[in-house]
């Protein structure tokens, strides 16, 4: 068995689910002949034919709307956004049509919307989106964001098998990262939605994070251990909705200090809710302010020099963690 990339894990998850279940199919721009802008579905058209791997016109509303219609019929469509940024062109279908369907009608909507998220790839303001906060705030859709190759596959399989709309956000910076190559189990597995994982244990503080930032935080934790003797716990949320409040709270009860890190912009981001949750429910356990590291409240910039300054990095995480530790 060979170690595969994060991207291959995604590809495997879809392929295996399509083999396992005839109700699973894929639609989106350039997913067929081309195999997807990032080649996630390379070879799928040949294997599954044009009815299960559908090249659509450039019509995000039609893509998501058709997926909703198919899900109403009991199929399990996977709608690809070529870049997740374009999800804004199908926004109404998600927040008004899909998110409220089961609640209103009792008809389940087993539907996955997925696409490449995040920055670090010089994509500029329209190809680097972290759209999770909009949907995290919208009841009726699950939101997941894998940080590892194992999770990429397991969470996607769980998303496909879920009976609700799931927004599956894959981080394009991780797609082919050599360090993320992993040997995956030969047997079928899922990573359940709604379960965080502690990537590193420590008693001095908890870092709550998700997506590509998990790796920055782990690096920061190592540096803090080596240089400051700090034992930093790193919690990878994996799912934003449902949010694993238990794991979060248990960790903070042990460490009593919290740093929240995300790539998305600060104000009104997912980190705000994490802080609010803890400031409300764990007030007595907190031995210091709840700190956040996130992108500034500005659109995502193109020039590499700006991009570097925009993205939270190890240096900033370490600096803020030191402040918090010293509190």
């Amino acid at each position: 068995m060979t170690a595969v990339t994060y991207l291959e894990a995604i590809s495997q998850a879809i392929r295996e689910e399509m083999r396992r279940d005839e109700s699973v199919f894929l639609l989106g721009e350039d997913v067929g002949t081309y195999g997807g802008a990032f080649k996630v579905s390379a070879g799928f058209l040949e294997e599954f034919g044009p009815e299960r791997v559908i090249d659509t016109p450039m019509s995000e509303t039609a893509i998501i709307g058709s997926a909703v219609g198919a899900a109403l019929m009991g199929m399990r469509p996977i709608a690809e956004m070529q870049y997740i940024d374009f999800i804004t062109c199908g926004f109404d279908q998600i927040v008004n049509m899909a998110c409220k369907m089961y609640w209103r009608s009792g008809i389940p909507l087993p539907l996955v919307i997925r696409g490449p998220t995040g920055g670090g790839t010089h994509g500029g303001p329209f190809h680097s989106a972290s759209p999770e906060a909009w949907f995290f705030h919208t009841p009726g859709i699950k939101v997941v964001m894998p940080a590892t190759t194992y999770d990429a596959k397991g969470l996607l399989k769980a998303a496909i098998r879920d009976n609700n709309p799931v927004l599956y956000l894959e981080h394009k910076l991780l797609y082919r990262l050599p360090e993320l190559r992993e040997e995956l189990p030969a047997e079928d597995y899922i990573v359940p939605l709604g379960k965080a994982i502690i990537r590193r244990y420590g008693r001095h503080m908890t870092i709550l994070t998700y997506g590509a930032m998990v790796h920055q935080c782990l690096r920061a934790a190592e540096q803090l251990a080596a240089e400051d003797g700090l034992a930093v716990e790193v919690v990878d949320l994996r799912s934003l909705t449902p949010l694993d409040r238990e794991t979060i709270k248990e960790s903070v009860k042990r460490t009593n200090k919290v740093l929240i890190v995300h790539e998305d912009t600060l104000t009104g981001g997912v980190g705000a809710e994490l802080a609010a949750l803890l400031a409300e429910e764990l007030f007595d356990y907190l031995d210091g302010p709840i700190m956040r590291v996130a992108a500034p409240d500005a659109p995502y910039p193109y020039a590499p020099s700006l991009e570097m300054a925009y993205l939270p990095g190890v240096e900033r995480i370490v600096a803020v963690a030191r402040q918090l530790a010293a509190y």
Binding site: M73, M75, N96, M101, Y102, I107, N163
Partner: protein, 364 residues
């Protein structure tokens, strides 16, 4: 079809048109009495379009109706009781009081629930049709929208996608002259909305939407086209909204001569005259139908009024569907209760938009 069958069919059509009108008249009364809160949309004058279009369908077909399509719901077997429970926001309404109006559906009976964002149902119709095509069915989808909704981006994306994929879907535009207060002259710069078909490469026809037999013929042709695997078709039914946009709208922006003109073309009266001239409708059969209609409406209202209000304790519930297997709708065994989409898992009971539970009262 034999003479007798034809006579029967025509009377059935007449019944549904009358039932639609009567249900809406009663809904209006309930609104005026303050028993329905929120917006009430009715469709006096649309009955030939809604009933006629729906009469072209078969078992397994699916409708994707909009806010003025009570006639379609009724023809396709949606229960008047369910409709009245919905208007009165009862706890046993199809949406359990979560949503109002005709925002109801049930896939096992081929009705897709609409949302208020008009136009947005049309891409969903494509998805349903896509599955019919994948599963090699000979069923079709009938999706409607108003003249107003043709200006939405969703309309365009749906019609284009349906054309490219040759989906079995018939798009029916109910052009009733206005989108709220906005006349068609401020909405588009073409004569007939069926011309939109030219932009997609599908057949398009316009028809007098107040002539139920003409509607059946033209929509029927489009349905045959779609059913035969040749892809989508577009029909514009030209009718008129003779009342306000909602029951709260006096619609004094509509020139009264124009309204009068269309009132004179009332589709039910026209059909009555036709049936009478053909000797199919007698004073007696008319009385009989009227009393049946009244019984159904009375029953529906009584049932709804006796129904419980939603339990406020459930206000945070039903946001996510439970785990478990999902059936492909329309396949054998799809209503086996082990499937999460076989029964309404919010209540554990069958979906309640459909009339078989009350067959005796509501079916012809």
């Amino acid at each position: 079809m034999s003479e007798a069958e034809r006579a029967n069919l025509l009377l059935q059509i007449y019944y549904y048109m009358r039932l639609t009108r009567a249900m809406e008249d009663r809904t209006r009364t309930l609104f005026l009495q303050g028993r329905i809160v929120g917006g009430v949309y009715t469709a006096q004058g649309h009955e030939a379009t809604t009933v006629g279009a729906a009469m072209t369908l078969r078992d397994g077909d699916c409708i994707v109706p909009q806010h003025r399509d009570l006639g379609m719901h009724l023809v396709r077997g949606v229960s008047p009781r369910a409709v009245m429970c919905q208007w009165l926001a009862r706890g046993n309404a199809p949406t359990l009081g979560r949503d109002g109006q005709l925002h109801i559906g049930d896939m096992h009976h081929g009705v897709v629930p609409m949302i208020s964002m008009l136009g947005e149902s049309l891409p969903v119709a494509c998805g349903v049709a896509l599955v019919m095509k994948m599963r090699r069915r000979s069923t079709i989808v009938l999706a409607t929208c108003g003249d107003g909704a043709t200006s939405t981006g969703a309309f365009h994306e749906a019609l284009n996608f349906a054309a490219v994929q040759r989906l079995p879907v018939v798009f029916v535009i109910e052009n009733n002259g206005y989108a709220y207060s906005t006349p068609t002259s401020k909405q588009f710069a073409i004569e007939q909305l069926s011309q939109r078909a030219l932009a997609y490469g599908m057949p398009g026809e316009s028809v007098d939407g107040n002539d139920v037999l003409a509607v059946m013929e033209v929509v029927g042709r489009a349905v045959d086209h779609a059913r035969s695997g040749q892809g989508p078709a577009l029909v514009e039914c030209r009718t008129f909204r003779v009342r306000g946009h909602s029951e709260a709208d006096k619609a004094d922006y509509v020139p009264s001569a124009l309204r009068e003109e269309w009132l004179a073309r009332d589709p039910i009266r026209r059909f009555e005259e036709y049936l009478t001239a053909q000797g199919l409708l007698t004073a007696e059969s008319r009385r009989e139908i009227e009393s049946r209609v009244r019984a159904v409406v009375d029953d529906a209202v009584a049932f709804a009024e006796a129904s419980p209000l939603p339990d406020p304790a459930t206000v945070g519930d039903y946001v996510f569907a439970p785990d478990g297997p999902i059936a492909i709708v329309g396949e054998p065994g799809a209503t086996d209760p082990r499937y999460v989409n076989a029964l309404d898992t919010r209540t554990g009971r069958p979906f309640c938009t459909m009339s078989q539970v009350e067959e005796a009262v509501t079916r012809l």
